[in-house]
Every structure is written in structure tokens, then in C-alpha cells.
């Protein structure tokens, strides 16, 4: 017993101050929210489009756009750009409420807003999530799960991962959704009592990620389920996930 108490003292208090205090510092090489500098691309230049492994970059009528829902944050596009228009910032805030909001261009993109008023009222102080890995590689799963450790202490927001969909208010889905997990995912969704929320985490669940186009997968959740929150990344940093969920619950101000 004494050993347990001594160890407890030695391990110290570890829960971060965020969101009341500053967010933990991200490493200098972290690739966060991509930014497109204003300006024009050289005529006919295709280099970043060719370098991207998942066709996250596109150009419509000479306007360059980057779809964070497809992006693997590999950074391959940055060094090939002759005019240095592309960069990845240290900004971890990337979650969006609508799929289209994940596309960023020279104007930037729109962060997630809060749920509709009835669901916000229900879930803002207590949200129980059932996590479903549907082809996830265990990275998005691990960095969702890490939020339950004492450093992040997800429980202090009233947010928990629960064992049964019957006990859940919503699903947090990872992975490109293999054909073999389609039924499992649908049944789990149906088992969650309404009203419910759906959160998709990682480029796989949003677009299929590196597996997009494989006939073995469905390229993410797509139209299968009504999605309330898209959290991009491969995998997203835990901070990106937490930021997204807190925005969904209306617990971060729109400007923060």
C-alpha cells in the first residue's frame, strides 16, 4: 500500500491544462493544417498534383485546392512546388462539420461548429462514444484511445468510450471501411439509440486514405451514415481529435 502511495507521488499530476490553458507544444517537424499562399501557379504546372499519392490536390479553373480529407500529410507536395505556395503549419485545428469544409484553398477553410441545439443540449456535458475500427491500422485508434489516459483525461469533459453501442450516444469511426466490415459497422450504428452522433477520424474513414480505390474497401464512411464531424489526418494528432470533439459539443468558442 505504501509503495502504491509513494509511486503515486513520484508520478506527479500529469493532466494538461488545455483547453483552459495553453495546448501542449507540438514538435517542430509536425505537419498540421496545410496552407496555400495566395497567388497563381505557373502555367500548366502539375508538379504537386503528380506528387500527391492520394489526389488530395486539385485544380478547378486555375484555382488550387487541397482536400484535407484525402491528405496523408506526407508533405511530398511541398518541395516540388516551384513557387512555394504550399506549406504545412503547426496548427492542429482541422476538424470540420461538412465534408466540403475540408477543402482548403487560398482563403483557408472553415472549422467545425457545434451540433444542432437539441443534440448539443443532450451531449454537451456527457457524451459516450462507441469506437468502431473498420479497417483502421491502429494508429487512429491508438491516438483516440490515448485521450483516455491521464495526460489528456477525456473523462473530465464527460466524454467516454463505452463498450456497448447500446450505452453510446454515437460512433467514432476509423478506417477505410472494408467490404468485410460494412455489415458490422451498420449494425453497430443501428444499435446506438437515437438521437446520435457520428464522428469520422482519419483520412481513411473520410476518403479511404491510402486504400482509396481498392475494391476491397468502401473508401470510408461516405454516404453510408450521416456524419457530424470530420477529423482529418493520418493519423490526426490527439489534440486535433480533442479539438474537434470539443467544437462539436460547443465547448470551444468559435474564435479559439
Amino acid at each position: 500500500m505504501l509503495d502504491i502511495l509513494l509511486a503515486r507521488i513520484q508520478q506527479k499530476h500529469r493532466t494538461m491544462k488545455y483547453p483552459d490553458g495553453p495546448a501542449p507544444q507540438l514538435p517542430g517537424n509536425y505537419l498540421g493544417r496545410p496552407e496555400l499562399a495566395p497567388g497563381d501557379c505557373p502555367f500548366g504546372c502539375q508538379r504537386c498534383l503528380d506528387a500527391c499519392p492520394t489526389a488530395a490536390l486539385n485544380r478547378h479553373q486555375d484555382r488550387l485546392g487541397l482536400d484535407m480529407g484525402r491528405c496523408l500529410f506526407c508533405g511530398e507536395c511541398v518541395p516540388v512546388c516551384p513557387t512555394q505556395r504550399l506549406s504545412f503549419t503547426l496548427d492542429y485545428r482541422m476538424a470540420a462539420s461538412r465534408r466540403a469544409d475540408l477543402v482548403t484553398d487560398a482563403q483557408g477553410s472553415c472549422l467545425a461548429g457545434a451540433l444542432d441545439a437539441p443534440r448539443r443540449r443532450l451531449f454537451t456535458r456527457a457524451l459516450n462514444l462507441r469506437q468502431v475500427s473498420a479497417g483502421g491500422c491502429n494508429a487512429c485508434e491508438a491516438d483516440s484511445n490515448v485521450l483516455t489516459t491521464i495526460g489528456w483525461d477525456l473523462g473530465r469533459f464527460g466524454i467516454n468510450f463505452v463498450a456497448s453501442p447500446r450505452h453510446a450516444d454515437g460512433l467514432l469511426i476509423t478506417g477505410p471501411v472494408p467490404q468485410n466490415m460494412r455489415l458490422g459497422l451498420l449494425k453497430t450504428y443501428e444499435a446506438v439509440p437515437a438521437p446520435k452522433v457520428v464522428i469520422v477520424v482519419g483520412s481513411c474513414a473520410i476518403s479511404g486514405g491510402p486504400f482509396a480505390g481498392h475494391e476491397e474497401v468502401l473508401d470510408g464512411v461516405g454516404d453510408m451514415l450521416p456524419v457530424d464531424l470530420f477529423i482529418p489526418g493520418c493519423p490526426p494528432h490527439p489534440l486535433t481529435i480533442l479539438d474537434g470533439i470539443l467544437r462539436l459539443l460547443g465547448r470551444l468558442s468559435e474564435t479559439s
Binding site: 500529469r14 509536425y30 506526407c74 495526460g151
Partner: protein
Amino acid sequence: MANSASGHPGIANGQAVDVADIPAMAVPEFLESVARAIEQGMRASAFFGQPLEDGRLRLWALLALDNQSLLFPYRADFDDWHYPSLTPRCPQLHWFEREVFEQWGMEPRGHPWLKPIRFHAPYRHNPSAADSKPSPQIGVTDFFQVEGEEVHEVAVGPVHAGVIEPGHFRFQCHGEEVLHLEISLGYQHRGVERNLIGGPGSRSIHLMETLAGDTTIGHATAYSQALEALSGDQVSARAQMLRGLALELERIANHVGDLGALAGDVGFLPVLSYCGRIRGDFLNLTALICGNRFGRRMIRPGGVCYDIDRAQASELQRRLDALEKDLAVALGLLWKTSSVMARFEGTGGISRQDCEAMGLVGPAARACGVERDIRSDMPSGIYQFAQIPVSTCGSGDVYARAHVRWLETIRSIAFVREHLANLPAGEIQTPLSPLKPNSLAATMVEGWRGEICHVALTDANGHFSRYKIVDPSFHNWFGLAHALRGQQISDFPLCNKSFNLSYCGHDL
């Protein structure tokens, strides 16, 4: 001597050979040679099919002779769609033969357990088969059933209670006692191998980094070494060392997480809490190097993308010192607590003999007293110059699997500390030449779960005609099922965590 049987003098880990230099065997000779070599102590690191243009199937066996650090490739071209199964003689081929049957329709006749492992349609259709079978339905198979009074069946999954990947477990129980456990996977199948054919392409490295995301460094290293073998280029000592440091950091983070989760599975929450936090901070060490907690973008064919400068090295050292101290306290508590040890000891035991027969790898094998570690048996990259002692424990139970993880964690921390202070000089990237045509390259990496084996075969243009990936989980899932025999069903979570196998690494 076994090494004469393949007709090839053997290749080292990370070496490429011209396929023409590997003699093609007649089918009966191939089957007999492979079976005999395994009976004499070689291990099947890979056993897989490669479709030929004329519609026939080439079977490859890559057998490891650990004590000579050599790999022996065997090959034979099969006209028929069946052959006598080798599994009755060599149980470690059990899962491989099922995979070959599922992928290519090549039936190992007499296989005792011939069921799908991933539930996908075959990649090759037998034109002479009278009835074309419908595509397999995930999870629909004839599970073994125990009959008798008071026998009951428990089905778990694919969606489990925790934040964990999907898989189906079917227990046959008598009261609390598990008579038999059948593990049925495939829910995570994303078609990785099929989509690598024709590569390498711009997606290939990303498929490697995500085929088991908690082993990003391990698989990306095996893939990069395969490409380097095929291009004939040497990677600088500095890049190799940076790969080694990243691999050991990956091992430490996962082992620490597992030790905490094991404590959690017996309800000892302090160590669960401490290790959960410490694991995250080890992931942050990897992020300090490359910006990503799982080591994405770190490893690329030809070297690594991120160097460690002096300031980073001293910051890594500082954090490593603090984490090591916290970890020693947390785990000291684990080993000292008798109620924890009472649950770990004697639970989920595997004998050394069964371990050898099943061909287990990684900490699960070393926990049975088997000295099997690619870093020492078949060193490649930096492990040719910098050694880590092999950690073993004899009792084969949950305690042993936990203890091996602890020993490996200590030794990996010492390795990282020592080499951070003495990084070799050199560039971190070497441009690669085109890949050699008509060649085979085999690479092995000791990932945190055990032996990762990649086999790349190129066509006449130097593109992948086949790329075989064997994740350590492929060898070990059957070991978990075996460990549950005669155990209490309530010990399943504990046993499962003591193996902590990858679903997506298996399902590919």
C-alpha cells in the same frame, strides 16, 4: 545439411538474387524438401503463391536457418490445382497453406483445418471446376463445435468492447473452462498485397506505413530494405542508425503500452494509468524526430527523411532519462504486487515444444525460452554493427510475455541512449537506381511483435510481380488460440493482451 536441399546456397537478410539462380524443383521434390527442412529445424518465414502468365501457380517457400543467418528460397511450378498438404507434417505451415488456398485456389489436400482466413474471393479461377462457388461471406464458415451436456459456445466480435480492431472469436466452453477457441479474422482486409502488384508506385510506401499502423517503422524499413536490395544501393550508416533508433522507440512505446494494458486487464489501475501516459510520451519522442507520433514520413527507400541534430539529441536524452525513471517506478510496482503476479503466473502457458511446432515469433516465442530475434539471428541495417542482447524467459505464460517486454524495453532504452550520443556521420538519403528485373529480395526486421518478412519479386521491367508481406501476427494468432486451451474464459482479455496481435497486419 539442410542448406543443400534447396539447391541454392542461401541468401542473407536484405539480399537480392536473380530468380533464374534459384533452381526450379519438381513438385514432389519441392514438397519433400520443404517438409524435411522444417522437420530438421528450419522455419517457414514465408510460403506463398505467385501466378504465372501461363495460368499455373508458382509456390515459394522461404525457409530460415537462424543459426547460420541464412534464408533458403524454394520454388516449384504447379500444373495441378491441388497438392498433398504439408501441415500434418509441419504444423507451422497451417496458416500459410490456408492463405495459399484462399488466394489462389490451390488446395492442400488433407489439410486438417481448411477454412478461409480473410474471406475474399480468390485471385485466380479454376476453369475446370464444375461449380463456381459463391464469394465467401465474412465470418460464415463451419466453426468447430464441441458437443456434450453443459457445453456452451461464446461468440465475441467482430466489434469488441474496447478501442480495438475487429475480429471474431468463438469459444467452446465447459463452465468457465475453454475447451477450444477459434479465431476468425478478415474484417480488416484492405487488399494491400493485390494493390502492390505493378509497383513500386507513389502509394506503395504509404501502404507499408499503414498496413499495421503501430508498426509503421518496422514495415516501412522492411520495404525500404527490399527496394535497396533490388536496386543494389547502400544506405549510409547514419541513415541505418536513425532507422534503428526509430525502430527501438517504436518497440519501447508499444511494449510500455502493453505492460500498462496487462495491468489494466487484472484491474491494477495505477500501473495502467502511469504506463498509458508514459507510452504517449515515448510516441512523442518519435514525433520529436519526424513530427509524427507513429513515425510516418521517417523511413523512405534510400534512407530516412529526418535527421537528428545535436539539440534534438540532447532533448531526446533528457526526456529519455525522465521517462526511464518514471517507468522503473511504475513497473516496479507491477512486479512487486502479489495479486498481479498471481494472475500473470501460470496463465495462458505455451510449452517450448508447441512454440517451435507452431513457429511462433517475437516476444511470444522468446517467452517460451526460444532465442529467436532477427536483430541477432539475421541482422540487417545497423544491427550488423550494434547488438542488442536477446531477452528470453522460460515459463511461456502471461508473466513471461510481460517479463520479456520489460527486458526488451530496458535494453532498447540503453541502445537508444548509447547510439544517440554517437551517431555516425553521413548523408541520410541515397538516391536509388532502377530495380533489377526478374529478381527476388527478402528482408526481415524484428518489429516489436516479432519477425516481419517481406519478399519482393520483380518482372522483366523491374516492377513488382508479387509482393509478399508476413506480419508477425500471421505466425502468432494460432498461438493465442492454443494458449487459451484449458484456461478460464475470463482470462481471455489478459492472454489476448499478452500477445497483442495485429488484426490489420494479418488481414492486409
